[in-house]
């Protein structure tokens, strides 16, 4: 589209799996008649002969010879519609809906405004009660969100619109500042990628106890109202505040991810941790309430890895290093460790999170040859790249801060989980009280 704007006729070629996304997004970005040509799907993984056969075959949408369509896209004269300019204000529906409770629940389902489970109906009374959870005015713009920055337009939203979603998720007004903090970042929990990505939020500060969040036994499971509802609200916000989460249009994860239902909400167990809390590592004061965001592929368990059977202290660091084998270096590593693991690592000499991150960075190595065959992993760039040979062992990540640690769990066993996720940013919750 940018190239068309420069006055150069363009034929975008898209595989058929992305038809709806391509057509609707072209319209939303201002070129509803963009001459997109479609190929069979996929292109990736096909031989040269198979790809050439695509070119000799038909566009699967029009049923006409594909290359004829491509040439036509570049040469067929413009129609009056193709040359239109002006501005359209897209509607999003009436400000309110009226119906019985059952009808309204069905309406939320039919219009993709829920996570396909019943919602708390956002009546005026409930939304007004939610708004009492903040001093910010209902019409204040909180932020802008998009299912994928740069690929989709950014929608904006007000404090009241966040409140509507908060009510729907089952939040109480006490949770509202935290949800506004999420909204202020514009981070969608439903990032549109074919990779079925997931999002995580680490919560630090006294608000964890104020909201009676669970950072002990079962912290990341469905065993606490605040943990569950905050995560669900983030998903609803990610669908409704930016038009995201429409499968095939604004969400393209091939398989989807169960974590998207309510995300990874991780209140840090600061009380039982021997290490500095995550937010203090980032320069905030212990008494500040902070939410920190992560983003990446998925989470997996640490049990079973090499070194965990060592006595008297399991070699957690070796296990962690071994666990990282399947991780792609496009994202980093987030370790969620039970306090028992953090204490055990302390007994092994890792007195800080930075100590263990530094050890892992130096000792988690991968061969150049393997990196060349790994998807979403890359070799170092710069002058040293010229000296790399296939048999050389290089760090999986070049920087220690690719390894992040959060302490969470109820000390029923010294276990850890780890996610192939990168840290994004931390923001104040207190600002939204």
């Amino acid at each position: 589209m940018q190239i068309e704007k420069m006055g150069i006729p363009t034929a975008p070629m898209v595989t058929i799996a992305f038809k709806d996304l391509a057509l609707t997004n072209a319209a939303k970005r201002g070129m509803p008649h963009e001459r997109i040509c479609f190929t069979p799907h996929p292109v990736w993984g096909k031989t040269d002969e198979q790809m050439y056969a695509y070119l000799e075959g038909n566009d699967p949408v029009t049923g006409k010879p594909l290359m004829k369509e491509v040439i036509g896209a570049l040469t067929n004269p413009l129609t009056p519609d193709d040359s239109k300019s002006g501005t359209i204000n897209p509607p999003t529906g009436a400000p309110t809906f009226v119906g019985s409770a059952d009808e309204l629940q069905q309406q939320f389902l039919d219009n993709g405004m829920s996570d396909f489970m019943p919602v708390i109906l956002p009546t005026r009374e409930k939304v007004d009660a939610m708004l009492k959870g903040t001093s910010h005015k209902p019409d204040e713009v909180v932020g802008k969100m998009t299912p994928a920055r740069g690929a989709f337009p950014e929608w904006s939203y007000t404090v009241e619109q966040v409140a509507v979603n908060a009510v729907m998720a089952g939040a109480t007004p006490d949770y509202f500042p935290l949800l506004l903090a999420i909204g202020s970042t514009g981070i969608s929990a439903l990032f549109s990628s074919t990779n079925s990505l997931v999002s995580a939020a680490v919560i630090n500060g006294p608000i964890r106890d104020k909201l009676q969040m669970n950072y002990g036994i079962g912290a990341m499971g469905p065993f606490n109202q605040a943990n569950a509802v905050i995560g669900r609200a983030w998903t609803l916000m990610s669908k409704n505040l930016d038009g995201g989460g429409v499968a095939g249009e604004t969400y393209m994860g091939s398989q989807g991810n169960v974590i998207n239902y309510n995300n990874l909400i991780i209140p840090e167990n600061e009380k039982d941790s021997p290490w500095t809390p995550f937010h203090v590592q980032r320069g905030f004061k212990p008494e500040e309430n902070i939410i920190s965001f992560f983003f990446g592929f998925n989470i997996t368990q640490g049990q079973g890895a090499r070194g965990l059977g060592m006595k008297p202290i399991p070699h957690y660091h070796e296990a962690m290093s071994a666990n990282l084998a399947p991780f792609a270096s496009m994202f980093g590593a987030l370790f969620i460790v039970d306090p028992l693991v953090a204490k055990g690592l302390g007994d092994l000499g890792f007195k800080t999170k930075e100590n263990i991150a530094d050890w892992l960075q130096k000792n988690t190595l991968v061969s150049v040859k393997d990196v060349k065959t790994m998807l979403f992993s890359g070799l170092p760039r710069g002058p040293e790249a010229a000296n790399l040979t296939d048999d050389m062992m290089i760090p999986k990540w070049p920087r220690a801060d690719s390894y992040q640690f959060v302490v969470c769990g109820g000390q029923t066993n010294p276990y850890h989980q780890l996610a192939n996720m990168s840290y994004r940013l931390s923001v104040s919750i207190d600002k939204w009280v």
């Binding site: 940018q2 190239i3 704007k5 006055g7 006729p9 363009t10 975008p12 038809k19 057509l23 319209a27 939303k28 070129m31 509803p32 008649h33 963009e34 001459r35 190929t39 799907h41 292109v43 990736w44 993984g45 096909k46 040269d48 790809m51 050439y52 949408v61 029009t62 040439i71 570049l74 040469t75 067929n76 413009l78 519609d81 002006g86 501005t87 359209i88 897209p90 509607p91 529906g93 009436a94 309110t96 809906f97 019985s100 059952d102 009808e103 629940q105 069905q106 039919d110 219009n111 109906l121 009546t123 740069g150 337009p153 929608w155 619109q161 979603n165 409704n240 505040l241 038009g243 429409v246």
Partner: protein
């Protein structure tokens, strides 16, 4: 390609495509659905949870070429896996079928949504047309 027919075939009017999905466009009246929904009980009024999309500025498309004969067509990859090999096959196709067309392959720098000013300047200077491979 007849885009109007295409859009109709997809069940979308060109006008509707120029908007975001709307309640009006997608709404199914409860009494039209085969569900257990009943209209009984008191009527409630609830708030719309959607945010506000930005206005859409329509972008006029570029004037088309009279012919590809003798023209330089840039084949641009946005970096998704397989796009380079696919565009290479397009280059081969032109050599076989339209040898007067010159093709030039370029990989756009950065992520798929990132700008690449250097490439854009080259296109503006040298490209008569562009075929861009997007996605997988």
């Amino acid at each position: 390609m007849n885009r109007r027919n295409l859009l109709t075939m997809l069940g979308m009017s060109p006008v509707a495509l120029a908007t975001v999905p709307t309640l009006a466009a997608k709404e199914k009246k409860p009494d039209q659905k085969k569900s257990t929904v009943t209209s009984g009980g008191p009527k409630l009024e609830v708030l719309n949870p959607r945010g506000l999309p930005p206005p859409i500025t329509l972008i006029p498309m570029a004037k088309r070429l009279d012919t590809l004969d003798g023209k330089t067509i840039y084949l641009v990859s946005d970096g998704f896996p397989g796009a380079d090999a696919f565009l290479n096959q397009i280059s081969i196709w032109f050599k076989k079928n339209m040898p007067s067309v010159t093709t030039v392959y370029r990989l756009k720098a950065g992520g798929f949504a990132d700008d690449d000013p250097k490439l854009m300047a080259e296109l503006k200077d040298k490209a008569n047309g562009v075929i861009m491979a997007i996605g997988h």
